[in-house]
Amino acid sequence: MANPTNGRTAESRPSRKRRLQPMRKLLPPILLALALTVATAAHAAGPTYRVHVAGLACPFCAYGIEKSLGAIDGVARVETHIEDGVVIVEMAEGKTLDRAEAAQAVEDAGFTLDGFEAPAGGSQ
């Protein structure tokens, strides 16, 4: 019976199993490439800093500090832990975070820098 949408007959259409076979062959290399990309990206991430922020006491305020720290050149990821009053700042590969920069970003957000932990060998 003719297919009104494409004019092909059911008999001429390849079976679902046959159509999926090429995709199944491609799936392992695609997944492998994806895994390698993720692993490489993780490995290539720069140093991670712990910025202690005094005065941070509500979720709505956390956005401001994340936006301010995230605007620093080279910052790849920012993550706040409100109970600890700590913002984790992950830099891009080859980038470091300067304490003075972090202090200014915290000040611009309306808070006070309470501590700055750099990774061993990282910027202080």
Binding site: P59, F60, S68, I82, E107, G110
Partner: protein
């Protein structure tokens, strides 16, 4: 700055044409919340708006006042949509604009015994103000701040609207027609478990069209207590706050043609329970303001209830 308002005291039969519920709305919306943080729902707080950050707040308002001691049996309903945009000029200085849209309806009985309705709707008086955090004491998981603020209410609302009965009373108009400065100070004590805000403000109402609303003194307080989650984990979970606020308002008598209106001004005290859900990017909130004491002059119309609900986002 406070947001509700109540400038609606007034209306005595004799002064109905110039005083009534309108103002109330005006103030109501114009003074709406301008804060940009977790915080109180009926007034501003001292908490920060980060440099370069915007905060947008949208609030819907319903106000009803029908406890009329006069033979007019006035029944006032106000519906409003108040939009607030805040911007962090620096970490300590925040600038705000408050744009109210109002729909005001007043039912009353005429001297002939007929029941009539007078209403108006549209843009109210816009408020612009700045707030500067002058004192800040931060520690891990808590902060105490004091911030003075000052601004002006612009005569952007229509102040000469009329219907088939003639010009609407001044208090029912969408705008006052006058440039009204205000100032005050707000203090905030915030911890991970609770937050307390207190505010004092004063608004100097000036004359326009031969009418001058009485000046307003407001004292406001708010307690927000984290109900959920009971324990904090990693990251930034959303907070559900139980809210209890109190608002004391003193208004001087209005002046018509240079003389005091005896049916305007007085004191009101509101107690307001509410809820607030706060995340990093948005806040949803609702509160009901209940008048627990009203000592108004003459035949000023008393409030029954004010309901506010809305949301905030930052970007």
């Amino acid at each position: 700055m406070r947001t509700d308002d109540a400038r609606m005291q007034i209306h005595t039969p004799s002064s109905l044409s110039r005083s009534a519920p309108g103002l109330l709305l005006l103030a109501l919306t114009a003074s709406l919340p301008t804060d940009a943080t977790a915080a109180s729902q009926t007034f501003n707080t001292a908490l920060p708006v980060a440099k370069g950050e915007f905060v947008f707040r949208q609030q819907l308002l319903y106000r009803k006042a029908d406890d009329d001691p006069s033979a007019l049996s006035r029944d006032l309903e106000v519906r409003g949509s108040i939009s607030v945009l805040g911007f962090g000029a620096t970490g300590d200085l925040a600038l705000f604009g408050v744009v109210p849209f109002l729909d005001k309806s007043l039912d009353l009985t005429t001297s002939g015994g007929a029941r009539v309705n007078r209403d108006t709707s549209g843009l109210g008086d816009i408020r612009l103000f700045g707030r500067y955090t002058a004192f800040r004491a931060d520690a891990k998981g808590r902060t105490f701040r004091i911030a003075p603020f000052a601004g002006i209410e612009l005569p952007t609302g229509d102040d000469d609207d009329a219907d088939s009965l003639g010009p609407l009373p001044a208090t029912l108009q969408l705008g006052s027609g006058s440039w009204d400065p205000f100032f005050g100070v707000v203090a905030t004590w915030q911890t991970l478990q609770f937050q307390i805000d207190a505010q004092a403000s004063y608004k100097v109402n000036t004359e326009a069209n031969g009418f001058e609303f009485g000046d307003e003194l407001r004292l406001d307080a708010s307690l927000q207590y984290r109900l959920w989650p009971r324990e904090l984990g990693a990251g930034v979970p959303g907070f559900l706050y139980g809210v209890l606020e109190g608002n004391f308002v003193h208004r001087a008598k209005n002046r018509i043609g240079g003389a005091d209106d005896p049916d305007s001004g007085g004191e009101q005290l509101f107690i307001s329970p509410g809820l607030q859900y706060v995340t990093k990017r948005w806040v949803a909130e609702a509160i009901v303001q209940l008048p627990v004491a009203q000592n108004l002059n003459g035949a000023a119309l008393e409030d029954d209830v004010i309901i506010r609900t809305g949301f905030r986002v930052n970007f």
